[in-house]
């Protein structure tokens, strides 16, 4: 029981990180980037590639981060930029459709380049676990949790202490008013989108250390979007606790109904939230 909870919390940290990227774009720009999961998988392949060249997986994070950041910027400029002027509802719908097409492209490109086999990055320390109070704590899971804390505090400092962060928050509250005060909304969108894709680097290495295949992107996106809905749209600080919450729910459901329905539990919660609380349950301060 306690052991499942521990794994649930460690998984939850990963979900939280995936959701951060989605929440940043969704909360600020009302873009729903369905391809986020596929971008994570692409990052995982990049990490695997570098690992085979003898680079430590955790050392690949900065490289993948920069590559995904640039990739995100290119994607925004070429595809998503056109949606800026639409009203919110159309923005969500059309970005979702574009993301869906992008997902199709990325998944099948990945299948073409690296075949459909399931792969994983296996450094020498992948099996190490610690024993505390009779609970097993895997080294990689712990470092994932640590990275998640690092990421959330970085993002917090970025959004609360920098001028650009202030602009991002202003745009997320009211982008017309923000543009009237002289904030370049289009540039803010570009950088937020690129950061959101760049943030996928950490989950992509952590997922790489578990196992991944070209079509796994949508599953990870699902986890992310469930967490975003749990935390409430536009509430970036709620994302991480919501991630842990999902991890714990999943762990409990494994305990109660067996591992086969792990995915279903999260999705049922998700659909119920969408129907009953369209604004999220952990309290949203936005709109």
């Amino acid at each position: 029981m306690w052991q499942t909870l521990v794994f649930g919390i460690l998984n939850g940290a990963l979900y939280g990180m995936i959701a951060l990227g989605i929440a940043l774009v969704f909360g600020i720009m009302k873009y729903l980037n369905v391809a986020h999961g596929s971008l994570i998988i692409v990052g995982a392949y990049g990490s695997l590639f570098l690992f085979r060249w003898g680079v430590d997986p955790f050392a690949t994070i900065p490289v993948i981060l920069v590559a995904l950041f640039l990739g995100g910027a290119i994607l925004f400029l070429s595809l998503f930029k056109r949606l800026i002027q639409f009203p919110e509802e159309t923005k969500i719908k059309n970005s979702l459709l574009i993301g869906f097409g992008l997902m199709l492209v990325l998944d099948n490109l990945a299948t073409f380049l690296w075949t459909g086999d399931e792969r994983s990055i296996t450094p020498s320390y992948s099996g190490i676990t610690f024993q505390i109070f009779g609970l097993r704590l895997p080294l990689i899971g712990l470092s994932g949790g640590f990275l998640a804390l690092l990421l959330i505090s970085f993002l917090h400092l970025f959004l609360s202490r920098t001028y650009f962060g202030k602009a991002v928050r202003a745009v997320s509250q009211d982008h017309e008013a923000a543009s009237l005060t002289g904030i370049d909304v289009s540039r803010t969108f570009l950088i937020s989108f690129a950061i959101s894709v760049g943030l996928a680097a950490i989950p992509s290495v952590l997922i790489g250390l578990q196992s991944f295949s070209p079509t796994a992107g949508i599953q990870w996106f699902n986890k992310g979007i469930i967490v975003v809905m749990l935390s409430g749209i536009g509430n970036i600080y709620g994302v991480f606790p919501a991630g842990l919450f999902l991890g714990i729910i999943e762990a409990l459901s494994v305990f109660l109904f067996g591992a086969a329905y792990r995915e279903v539990t999260g999705l049922v919660v998700f659909v119920l939230i969408l129907i009953l609380f369209p604004k999220g349950i952990l309290g949203s301060r936005a709109d």
Binding site: E89, K93, L96, L102, F112, N222, A260, E263, V268, L274
Partner: protein
């Protein structure tokens, strides 16, 4: 006479389609057409909700799957196939009523993602409960005739097209289009938006369920979860967008393109053909929101062309 004059092209196409099994013995070709009809059924069903009513659903695989599952179950328990298929369609309506109607309460932007969630739930649940492949018993295989599958698929495809045609031309159709274009305005002029959205959902799910029934009748052996796979949700989305959202001919055109590209390139190019398809899809969403159907309008066509393409092709907002 008037009807024959107005609809001679569709009638000719239907007549030619009906005579295909008499003209050719090529099983490959007939199977291909059955797949095409399946795509048309699904796309028309999807278009009723996604194109005409603007409720983009990614949950159609659940309706398709439940139709296939129930039809197969009923048919295996010695119920005549036609009744079994109607049972499949009804079960699909039931599913739509139980889980789909609550989904309509979601904010519109979240509808696709919520229905996607439902589709995944359905797939995993069925995969867990029935992890076995459902093969036909031997007495069914002995009596297997491809042409009866073909005619059933053709019949359901024509039915789906007719339903779409009459819905579009009815008061309901106007209401659905009004809701798509501006829900608040539609509410303001007195359209009961929720009721019409439910109507679109139920009709659409019924056709999808019939499509599932055709699938169950056609396939000799498949995993029970395979008609629940998400690709059955993605496929009608792709074909309808590429063909032309909200038109009758668009989904048919899109299905033909999808199938043709699939057959031509799936073996030579492998996954790359889906990459091309995804890319085309993005380009259409960005630059041609009316799909292939909107292209003739761009080159101001002759009145005859316009008659074939129909006047109802409107671009999405």
């Amino acid at each position: 006479m008037n009807v024959a004059k107005k609809f001679w092209i569709p009638i000719c196409v239907a007549a030619i389609s009906a005579s295909v099994p008499l003209l050719t013995k090529s099983e490959y070709f007939i199977n291909l057409l059955v797949m095409l009809f399946l795509y048309v059924i699904l796309s028309q069903s999807w278009n009723l909700q996604g194109g005409i009513n603007g409720q983009i659903s990614l949950g159609h695989s659940a309706f398709f799957g439940i139709g296939a599952l129930i039809t197969r179950m009923l048919w295996m328990s010695k119920i005549p196939i036609l009744l079994a298929i109607i049972g499949g369609g009804l079960s699909s309506i039931l599913l739509a009523g139980v889980v789909g109607i609550p989904c309509l309460r979601m904010k519109r932007g979240y509808f696709p993602i919520g229905t996607l969630g439902l589709a995944i739930i359905a797939q995993i649940t069925v995969g867990n409960i029935l992890p076995v492949p459902g093969s036909l018993p031997s007495e069914y295989i002995v009596g297997y005739s491809l042409s009866s599958r073909y005619y059933l698929a053709l019949f359901v495809a024509i039915l789906s097209i007719l339903v779409a045609y009459f819905v579009v031309r009815s008061r309901t159709g106007w209401a659905l289009v009004a809701i798509r274009d501006d829900e608040e305005a539609a509410e303001a002029v007195g359209i009961k938006t929720f009721r019409f959205k439910v109507k679109a959902l139920l009709i659409s799910s019924f056709i999808a369920g019939l499509g599932g029934g055709v699938f169950a009748y056609h396939q000799v052996s498949y995993y029970y979860q395979s008609p629940f796979e998400l690709s059955w949700s993605f496929l009608p989305t792709l074909t309808t967008f590429i063909g032309g959202l909200g038109t009758i001919l668009g989904p048919i055109l899109g299905s033909v393109c999808f199938l043709a590209l699939n057959e031509l390139f799936a073996f030579t190019l492998g996954e790359i053909h889906l990459v091309i398809f995804g890319f085309t899809f993005i380009m259409i969403v960005l630059f041609f929101p009316g799909g292939l159907m909107s292209i003739p309008h761009r080159f101001e066509s002759s009145s005859a062309m316009r008659r074939i393409w129909g006047k109802r092709s409107r671009s999405i907002p």
